[in-house]
């Protein structure tokens, strides 16, 4: 490599890293300012929302919020215990249901399926379309399935079904992307050494794709945890006064309880609702932090 190429590369790298260049035409300046404005607008709206919610919810950031059930008699002690536990049940159930199923489906489509066959292509197109379907439609689907099995409304299992349907396409698509990002040399090397396709997938492709799979899965789950619409459809309750203990228990969920409080004009409930939004945000942030941790821990470079 000549010295000139190296110098040129360094300049390019520097330009990309700092955004500085000698190109200072008015057009490029306006474009740059437009980009900054878009960035500023997005972040400003988010900050205003967060700060507003935090300030309104601040008086209720206490233990009762987490440990008490909802209260009509003592609005200042109103808590979200049932909603938080319900959401945790729904989350764990959805994860247990969708992670194995989603990864298996994606592995089949990516590693084993012959995508020249018409039925495999139909499955692929369907999954891609499903990822764009509005959440409430999954609620209607889940309600139909529950009716088929004669299950009552508002059970934990119904909520899990709705959220699983919602999360599955996302997990399948991100898992396929992650598998596709594993260099084909790795697979070819393994196959050349005499390993079967199954062994190659299990020992090489899948472990290498873990960071991508984990990130996609957890982002899918954190979308599901904030959903209220499909849960309303399957009849998840606004208020229960007991902790769910099995899949066939009646349950509530945090987004539904927050939504339920929107119709109440008492100041104490508005504060409680804002505090609960912060709790929900922290739960989502926690999940996202876990995703980042897993990605960093298992990340490899080729």
């Amino acid at each position: 490599m000549s010295a000139a190429t190296v110098a040129a590369r360094e300049t390019t790298a520097h330009t990309i890293a700092t955004g500085k260049s000698r190109d200072r035409t008015p057009g490029s300046l306006i474009f740059l300012i437009a980009l900054w404005l878009s960035l500023f607008f997005g972040i400003a709206v988010l900050t205003v929302l967060l700060v507003d919610t935090a300030i309104k919810g601040l008086p209720r950031m206490d233990g009762n919020l987490l440990t008490e059930y909802d209260s009509t008699l003592f609005p200042e002690k109103h808590g979200f215990r049932a909603g938080i536990l319900g959401s945790i049940w729904l989350m764990l159930g959805t994860a247990l249901f969708t992670v194995p199923l989603g990864i298996a489906a994606a592995t089949y489509l990516e590693e084993f399926a012959d995508n020249k066959k018409w039925y495999n292509r139909i499955i692929e197109i369907n999954i891609q379309n499903l990822a764009a379907v509005p959440a409430i439609v999954y609620g209607i689907l889940a309600l139909g399935v529950m009716g088929l099995f004669g299950l009552a409304d508002g059970l934990v299992i119904g909520g899990i079904l709705a959220l699983s349907l919602l999360t599955l396409p996302i997990i399948i698509i991100t898992t396929r992307e992650a598998l596709r990002a594993v260099p084909s040399e790795i697979r070819q090397g393994s196959l050349a050494l005499g390993a079967t396709v199954w062994q190659t997938t299990w020992r090489n492709s899948l472990p290498s794709a873990v960071p991508g799979i984990a990130t996609g899965t957890i982002l899918g789950l954190s979308r599901a945890i904030g959903e209220a619409a499909p849960l309303v459809m399957v009849g998840i309750f606004v208020s229960v006064r007991f902790d769910p203990a099995s899949l066939t228990d009646m349950a509530s969920a945090l987004p539904i309880q927050i939504y339920g409080l929107a119709s109440n004009s008492q100041e104490a409930y508005q504060q409680a609702a804002n505090a609960a939004i912060i709790v929900l945000l922290l739960m989502v942030l926690g999940l996202n932090a876990l995703a980042i941790f897993i990605r960093n821990k298992f990340q490899r470079s080729w």
Partner: protein
Amino acid sequence: MNRTSFRRALVPTVAALALALTACGGNDGEGSDGEQISGNVVVDGSSTVEPMSKAASELLSEEQGKIKVAVGAAGTGGGFEKFCADKTDISDASRPIKEDEEVPVCQEAGIEYTELLVATDALTIAVHPDLDIDCLKVDQISKLFIKGSKVKNWNEIDPSFPDQEVSFFFPGTDSGTYDYMAADVFENESEELRSDVQASEDDNVLVQGVSGTEGAVGFFGFTYYEQNSDKLKALQVENPETGECVAPSVETAQDGSYSPLARPLFIYVNNKKYNDNKAVAAYVDFYIEHLEQIATAAKFIPLNEEDYGTTQAALEGIA
């Protein structure tokens, strides 16, 4: 600050009062004999009645910890749909069941039910204390509030009204109070009110707005007006049937003359579930026994003695 402490003081006072009253009634004290009943109770329906059903569940849980009550808020219509499909035990309703649409569905499914009147919900239209207007007709309320209304001055709806600009203070569109005004008071296909208003989810903000702005008008639940009646002037409303102007009060709301801004609230109980499921029976009995306390906690107007007697009689008729 003052308000919060006042509220805090109010709750135990009301509770003590209600307890004292029920004690006077010489009830048989079903919960006090220590028999613990277990079972599920599923309640769904009107989000307006929901706070009452939740309050009943909350009070009951202190005596009967093993009864699992789940309360949903699918709306009155959605509630009846589930009720008549045998999915719920009790349906909350802010209107009577519809004879032509909902009753046949229940009958076809073989569901027998009992209607129990539980409280009265009333709205108050309040204006700035200095405004020289006393009574509104329903069509004037409609002109003033309906979606797309161009009314900017009080004398536009009636030439005898003062020449005074109107400012509006409405509850947020998510609230049950808004829904009631938008959908049930006057003919309004859009079920929306005018949007060029100051809207707030917080009733305190509405009270401050109306009491501090000349010519202002707003509306909120009657019990909330009652607590702030020193700062506001409540408008009378002409009863469309009798043609008389009626001022909002506990009495006029209870006897139905403060129409259409007062409406009855009901719960519908599935007779079979009541007789077969001890938990449902215990919940409903407790609900009706402590009705006054529950209605007050949920900020509704409790029944007068006559209506309460009717409700008790209807409850006895289930078994």
